[in-house]
Symmetry: C2
């Protein structure tokens, strides 16, 4: 710390708030959001989790927002109505924007099936001058359904879950994703590499 | 980057997600939330803004949540009913928790007048094993009202704003705040120093 007890003269600040440039310059970071979208069991979280590990172990502040830390916390008062689904994605977009502004590489890993909702998140980043990189995890439905790690597709087919994306609710594939990953074809390693190359290309990471 | 294009063998990760210890260890940081509470114009944002500048300039990842970046974004769909005020604080608490988990020193600067709402935020941090440091910015009402930088007290006294904290809505002072600041008595420099000492004591910053 430059500010130490009893040495008040070492504490410096200016009028007004810290600017983003000052923050990113001091912390040597560049924030932005990498938004993973795709069907349930398409591999979004597996890729995002591996990417997060690689980046953090390399000293890049990267943070993943997913069902585990959002659905049971910030968005625990939301259900699965059309309105609540849109609000779910809106809040995730806003939080990713805050993390981006902070200088974090924010990774969001949600089905986020509707183009309009994703476009709203893109716009809020654009308006704030922050990078928004849409990554379509393009695993075909039949492969996702075959994997079915949580048995959700089976339940949806049996009618036990209503409004399940890909079964009785639409998935609108991105028309202009910055990156399309095919984990059914490429290895996990290759998918992570493609993300890293894209982050490098967009200047979010160096080297 | 340890992972470079065409050198897939340099990309390493393990099954399961990155743990908090791994994250904080790799990024050399310790997250936690410093929650500023006090009347409008008590000096919360001035202190938090100066503290943020000092910490970030010293390389500490510190991020401030306040009306500017929350009310117009994440919480723009909330009004000022009792229910919406509680939801406002709940969402801020959840986002501060995410930033803390990320390893950030999160500073929240909101009137947050109700003890129950603040206690809920404390509990969600406790449950997640994250530090929650409540800072009561204890500026007497008459001084806040005299400052009145946005003319809000004047409007509240004139009945043009209803439900204004301190005038026709209660402010419940914290009974067990970790830190009580008196910006009416102490200098801004001294208030920032006290915050830094507390962060050091709680292990959120080193040195």
């Amino acid at each position: 710390m430059s500010a130490t007890q009893g040495k008040a003269t070492n504490i410096h600040w200016h009028e007004g708030d810290l600017t983003r440039d000052e923050r990113w310059g001091a912390l040597k970071c560049t924030g932005g959001t990498m938004w993973f979208t795709g069907l349930s069991a398409s591999g979004k979280s597996t890729i995002a989790s591996a990417l997060e590990q690689v980046l953090v172990q390399d000293g890049v502040n990267c943070y993943r927002l997913d069902g585990d830390n959002v659905r049971h916390g910030l968005n625990k008062n939301l259900g699965f109505s059309a309105e609540d689904r849109a609000e779910n994605i809106r809040r995730i977009g806003e939080v990713a924007k805050l993390f981006s502004d902070n200088g974090t590489v924010a990774l969001t890993s949600f089905i986020s099936p509707y183009s309009a909702d994703r476009d709203d998140c893109r716009k809020m980043h654009d308006d704030a001058g922050l990078a928004f990189i849409e990554v379509f995890v393009d695993t075909p439905l039949d492969i996702c359904e075959e994997r079915d790690p949580k048995g959700l597709y089976k339940k949806a087919r049996a009618g036990e879950i209503k409004g399940f994306t890909g079964i009785d609710d639409p998935y609108e594939a991105p028309a202009k994703a910055e990156l399309v990953l095919k984990p059914g074809v490429d290895s996990l390693e290759r998918c992570v590499e493609q993300c890293i190359d894209m982050l490098r290309e967009r200047g979010l990471i160096k080297g």
